[in-house]
């Protein structure tokens, strides 16, 4: 899992993400995020990296 900066234009990506959510209901936003997760996961293509990312995303919340 890469934790050093690796997004070429972080502000541009954030802006595009925010824009993508504009005008959506909460449920639609949740589905958009889920679609994005699966699309990005397919780009990563490494099971070990994906599972590390799931664990890192879960980290601030209570353990399973």
């Amino acid at each position: 899992m890469i934790t050093d900066p690796n997004i070429p234009d972080p502000d541009g990506f954030y802006a595009a993400l925010v824009a993508a959510h504009e005008g959506l209901t909460e449920a639609q936003s949740a589905e958009l995020n889920a679609r994005l997760v699966f699309l990005l996961a397919n780009q990563v293509g490494s099971q070990a990296v994906l599972l590390d990312c799931v664990a890192a995303a879960r980290k601030p919340f209570a353990p399973e």
């Binding site: 949740a30 589905e31 889920a34 679609r35 699966f38 699309l39």
Partner: protein, 544 residues
């Protein structure tokens, strides 16, 4: 053998007579080598496999027919390894004739196909990927085959009431219409299913759990021909956007299985008029005959060990998974086929008793894998939270648009021959060989299962396409060690590989040596092996 038939679920089932056993005639208890309790798929497969290997057994069943009275069929999908086992046992031709052969599956969300497969592509086996057939027919053919093979004392109307064991034997109390008696078994096989009293009597932990998901099976006959494919809907518009299964079985009976509201009343949803309303919504007409309606919820459990002293647990007594993926009956049959040859070699004193420990070492992890796989399907089909529903909606949406999304759609990963990579009795192999076409040394057309049947319960060594630099004589001399082993060259003067499929499934190059177990699993695969190495692999595979 059958008396007057029983009418159940629209089918006529045979009735087998109770024959008073010799114990009731003279009151003298007897000791048998192998006693199997339970005449379902796994118990009958084991009895048939043992009989086919020339080993005697006693089978005790509390009923006097096959199937479950009044419960119509249970399992319907028989996967390739099961069909290969039945090819070996001799019941395959009847299953092929009576059943429905298929290989294509499609999954729908609404009206869109979001996933499909054709398992026939790339299959090297002489058996098809799947045949659908009512479970009781499969059991029926096994009973007939056992009767023609002999060597199995099939005792109907014989209910086991108590089991106790010492280091020397298992004592079994049996209740029959003509009174009770006791017998002793060197080895007892518990094939009594999910509610096994034998297992529970030993106080063994099963790690049982129950699902909130509810379904209702509707077996039905109707005129029009749907494609002979496995169709599943994740979200069916005609079933309140819940899941539906559509499968053809023997006798032109369709199995339609509907996912219900988890809070539904099982009695209400299985009422005839309610079931018929569901069918009209699905089929768009009312021209059908209801065969059987059965609501169910599923459960799972898994024993930590499939051997307890002199007792072995096979099939549902040892493990239960949700039905998605046909991993229940098929894995019970694989259990039996794994245990059969080991019991045969041990009772013939050709292998030490510790070979029997490899049954649990191989089949318990296989069952654990089946449980993992089916639990994932269950989770996809019955999301437990709004977040899970959102994830599934995203997958179904992506599956409509992109190929990668289809791989995430999970309506059941169908039964496979589980590999045994961590088995103490395999050397770097441990996967099942498809039943490929070969020719025997006399030139006749056969298969791997045919070769296994012709040589009996032995390991088969095959040296593939020897280039001449090999110690063929050394391999042949291994036959003289007194071990259950036969050696064949694949090439001039030996067996033949006319379609190149043996080469394909062995990933063989010239001088590859394959050591094949009696259950047609690969015990070892070695390029350029020496005879001494093969002997070491054989001893390891026999636990010598």
């Amino acid at each position: 053998m059958a008396e007057q038939p029983v009418w159940t679920g629209g089918y006529e089932l045979p009735v087998y007579p109770f024959v008073p056993p010799p114990e009731l005639a003279d009151g003298r208890p007897r000791r048998y080598r192998i006693v199997i309790v339970g005449g379902g798929l796994s118990g009958l497969t084991l009895a048939c496999d043992l009989a086919n290997r020339g080993v005697e057994s006693v089978l005790l069943d509390e009923d006097d027919t096959i199937g479950v009275r009044g419960a119509s069929s249970r399992g319907i999908v028989y996967a390739q390894k099961t069909l290969e086992v039945f090819a070996h046992l001799g019941t395959y031709p009847r299953i092929r004739e009576k059943g429905v052969t298929w290989s294509v599956g499609k999954t729908f969300a609404g009206r869109d196909v979001v996933y499909s497969f054709d398992m026939d592509l790339g299959s090297a086996s002489e058996q098809p990927p799947f045949i659908n057939l009512q479970q009781f027919y499969v059991e029926w053919f096994l009973v007939d085959r056992i009767a023609s093979l002999g060597r199995c004392d099939l005792r109907w109307k014989s209910r086991v009431t108590r089991v106790a064991q010492t280091p020397e034997c298992v004592t079994v109390a049996v209740e029959t219409p003509a009174g009770g008696y006791t017998l002793e078994a060197e080895w007892l096989i518990d094939a009594t299913g999910v509610n096994s009293a034998i297992r529970d009597g030993f106080g063994l932990e099963t790690h049982a759990s129950r699902s909130a998901d509810r379904w209702c099976i509707t077996d039905v006959r109707f005129k029009e021909r749907f494609p002979v494919e496995r169709w599943t809907w994740v979200e069916a518009p005609f079933n309140d956007d819940r899941a539906v299964w559509q499968h053809l079985m023997g006798d032109d009976v369709w199995r339609l299985d509907y996912q219900m509201d988890p809070d539904c009343d099982p009695e209400y949803v299985s009422r005839r008029d309610v079931a018929e309303a569901r069918l009209r919504a699905h089929l768009g007409h009312r021209d059908f005959d209801l065969v059987w309606v059965g609501p169910y919820a599923y459960r799972d459990h898994l024993l930590d060990e499939f051997r307890h002293g002199r007792v072995f647990f096979v099939g549902d007594a040892a493990h239960v998974v949700s039905p998605f993926g046909a991993r229940g009956g098929n894995s019970g049959i694989q259990d039996a086929y794994n245990l059969g040859w080991k019991l045969a070699l041990v009772t013939k004193r050709q292998a030490p008793e510790r070979l029997l420990d490899t049954y649990s070492a191989e089949r318990q992890p296989a069952a654990a894998e089946n449980l993992r796989v089916t639990a994932r399907t269950t989770r996809f089909l019955a999301p437990r939270s709004a977040a899970e529903r959102t994830l599934r909606a995203a997958v179904l949406g992506l599956a409509r648009e992109h190929a990668f999304g289809r791989s995430l759609v999970n309506t059941g990963r169908l039964s496979v021959a589980n590999p045994y990579p961590d088995s103490p009795a395999v050397a770097g192999a441990g996967w099942s060989l498809p039943n490929v076409a070969i020719t025997l040394p006399d030139g006749s057309r056969s298969t791997l299962a045919g070769l296994a049947q012709s040589v009996g319960t032995v390991f088969i060594g095959i040296l593939y396409a020897p280039t001449g630099g090999h110690d063929v004589a050394g391999f042949a001399q291994l036959e003289a060690l007194g071990l259950p082993f036969r050696f064949f060259v694949c090439g001039a003067g030996g067996i033949g590989d006319p379609e190149g499929k043996l080469k394909q499934v062995l990933h063989a190059g010239p001088d590859t040596f394959a050591l094949i177990r009696p259950d047609l699993y690969l015990a070892a695969l070695a390029p350029n092996a020496r005879a001494s190495e093969v002997e070491a692999c054989l001893r390891k595979a026999l636990c010598l």
